[in-house]
């Protein structure tokens, strides 16, 4: 049985379509990511799947239960960690967990056992008696993840689990999420707009934009759609002749020239750099700067969401130039 099955799901708010006919399935034990910019409709999707919002059209089933008709069964099967903290800050960590476990009807002895278990998992045992308002952002997140696990959900929704956290805490939380998925076998759906988070954690990723899925696959295959590495050359001189030559090489899959920056897509880019520089010299073209980039989900994302790759590459070289200008040695040579 699929953990999640979504069929043409739609949600509109006063004529604005936040989620626009999405369909997908998530298998049991999968770690599935929804990746997209703010406002893409990720949270709305999660809210519908977790019964907080009623779908405008289409249908969805979580753990085999329909989210519109069998809401209580869905609620029993899921855990949710919301984007914004959903803790009572006037209660202690333990009281928050007690509240939760009692709402889920877990008996007293079992409740105690599970609370200490999850507190240990997120390393908050010594803070359990502290009011949540005194917690740091990372501690709150960890407490929420712990809370989402106390009732042993089949499916766990994590809406931007590391939003606004520092790198170290983020790494920490990533480890928890992986552990949960691997050891406890919990199906996890997470939304994020951090590319590296989706890349690191998710088995499959749906890229979401304007309420629609623009791509859905494993991170590796999504990156493959871009056709290899991107080499950016910042050049001076007769670019046209150089470009002409490059066009005859079969290993250059794509080339773009924009504001002195030549961007080439090819496989094994690092092995082609010497050759490219030599070619340039033959044509009397000066190469000021070379940049090699392995395709990231960022590129995939830009590729699918319409903002042109070229724009992004221009930005990239812009940034490179700024960095190099800041370097004292480089600056002197140029002037």
């Amino acid at each position: 049985m699929d953990a999640i099955r979504v069929d043409n799901l739609v949600k509109t708010f006063d004529g604005f379509t936040a989620v626009d006919h999405i369909s997908f399935t998530v298998g049991e034990g999968e770690l599935f990511g929804l990746l997209g910019p703010n406002g893409a409709g990720k949270t709305t999707t999660i809210n519908m799947l977790s019964t907080l919002l009623r779908p405008t059209a289409g249908s969805a089933a979580v753990a085999g239960f329909d989210v519109a008709r069998d809401r209580d069964s869905v609620r029993k099967s899921i855990g949710v960690v919301f984007q914004e903290p959903a803790l009572d800050s006037k209660l202690t960590g333990r009281e928050n967990l007690e509240f939760h476990t009692m709402m889920y009807g877990i008996g007293k002895a079992e409740r105690r056992r599970r609370i200490s278990e999850v507190l240990a998992l997120v390393e908050l045992e010594d803070k359990a008696a502290t009011l949540v308002e005194k917690y740091s952002g990372g501690m709150k997140r960890r407490l929420e993840i712990a809370r989402g696990l106390t009732h042993r959900p089949k499916v766990l929704f994590l809406d931007e689990p590391t939003l606004g956290l520092d790198t170290q805490t983020r790494r920490h939380i990533w480890e928890y999420i992986r552990k949960l998925n691997n050891e406890a076998g919990v199906t996890i759906i997470l939304t994020t707009h951090y590319m590296e988070e989706a890349d690191f954690l998710c088995g499959r990723i749906a890229i979401m934009d304007h309420g629609k899925f623009v791509a859905l696959d494993t991170p590796a295959r999504l990156k493959d759609t871009l056709g290899g590495d991107v080499i950016s050359l910042e050049i001076e001189g007769n670019a046209a002749a150089f470009l002409d030559d490059l066009g005859r090489l079969d290993w250059v899959k794509r080339s773009k020239f924009h504001e002195d920056v030549l961007s080439l897509t090819m496989e094994k880019g690092e092995r082609r750099i010497p050759e490219l520089v030599m070619l340039a010299r033959e044509k009397g073209v000066t190469v000021n700067c070379v940049n090699l980039r392995k395709p990231s989900l960022e590129d995939v994302f830009l590729h699918f969401t319409g903002r042109t790759i070229r724009e992004q590459e221009a930005n990239q070289s812009e940034r490179n130039r700024a960095r190099m200008m800041g370097h004292p040695g480089f600056g002197r040579r140029r002037s």
Binding site: N47, L52, F82, A86, M103
Partner: protein
């Protein structure tokens, strides 16, 4: 729809923990009724009240009114606490739990009623200090019934507004334009008989009128309407408001 005792209990307990921890809020919310009771009670000490002998004095007339006011304010604040939960995200945690919506409403009502009643009793205590004479035990028990009915009615009203509103800003406006008129129209401070007829007509549409009148009937033996009429009308209002509050809460979406 089932009723889940544990869920109601834990919602109630959360409310109690929060109430006990918010000491400044308790004192703040008691300050206004105590000032009303103290300054108006002493200032209008000699004001004649129609249908009352001079011995009872204005403090006797005022006390049931101020108890009613305290219950009105603290009960409608229950709606505010729903909006607080919405603002701080905790409402989602509640809404996503596998608990019937009826149980959620009952938990809210239980918590709100308890805090309102505590406030009401504290004001009653303050009135004894200021010279209000304690009625018999039977009368006091009957008074508690009226206090409960006032609480239920305005918790229901608070839930209706909270379910229809997105944030807390609107709630301040509600307080000024709905809660204060409820208070003044009820005859909590001044005898209904002194109002011109068109205001009195509005007063009879105000649930608090019957609550305060009923409290007066049982506590000081003076009322505009027969006490059983007050009781019947209050039961009606309480049931309707609770039903509507539950209905709108059920219909509202969790985010």
């Amino acid at each position: 729809m089932s009723i889940q005792g544990t869920a109601i209990y834990v919602l109630w307990r959360r409310e109690m923990i929060r109430y006990v921890r918010a000491k400044s809020r308790i004192i703040g919310s008691l300050a206004m009724p105590v000032f009303f009771l103290g300054f108006l009670g002493l200032g209008f000490r000699r004001m004649p009240i129609p249908g009352m002998d001079a011995g009872t004095g204005y403090i006797g007339f005022l006390t049931p009114g101020i108890i009613g006011m305290t219950l009105l304010f603290s009960s409608s604040m229950q709606g505010m606490s729903v909006l607080w939960d919405k603002e701080f995200g905790f409402l989602k945690e509640i809404m996503v739990a596998p608990v019937s919506r009826v149980s959620l409403v009952l938990g809210r009502v239980a918590g709100g009623t308890t805090t309102s009643m505590i406030q009401g009793f504290l004001i009653f205590g303050a009135s004894l200090v200021l010279g209000f004479r304690l009625p018999g035990i039977g009368a006091a028990a009957f008074g508690v019934v009226f206090m409960l009915l006032i609480s239920f009615t305005f918790i229901g009203l608070g839930l209706i507004f909270a379910s229809r509103m997105k944030d807390m800003q609107g709630f301040g406006i509600i307080m000024n334009f709905i809660i204060f008129p409820f208070f003044f129209l009820s005859g909590a401070l001044t005898p209904l008989e002194n109002f011109p007829w068109f205001i009195r007509a509005l007063s009879y549409a105000d649930p608090l009128t019957y609550g305060v009148d009923g409290l007066r009937a049982v506590l000081i033996g003076r009322s505009s309407l027969p006490v059983l009429v007050d009781l019947a009308v209050m039961i009606g209002f309480a049931l309707i408001m609770l039903f509507l509050g539950a209905y709108f809460f059920e219909k509202s979406e969790g985010v």
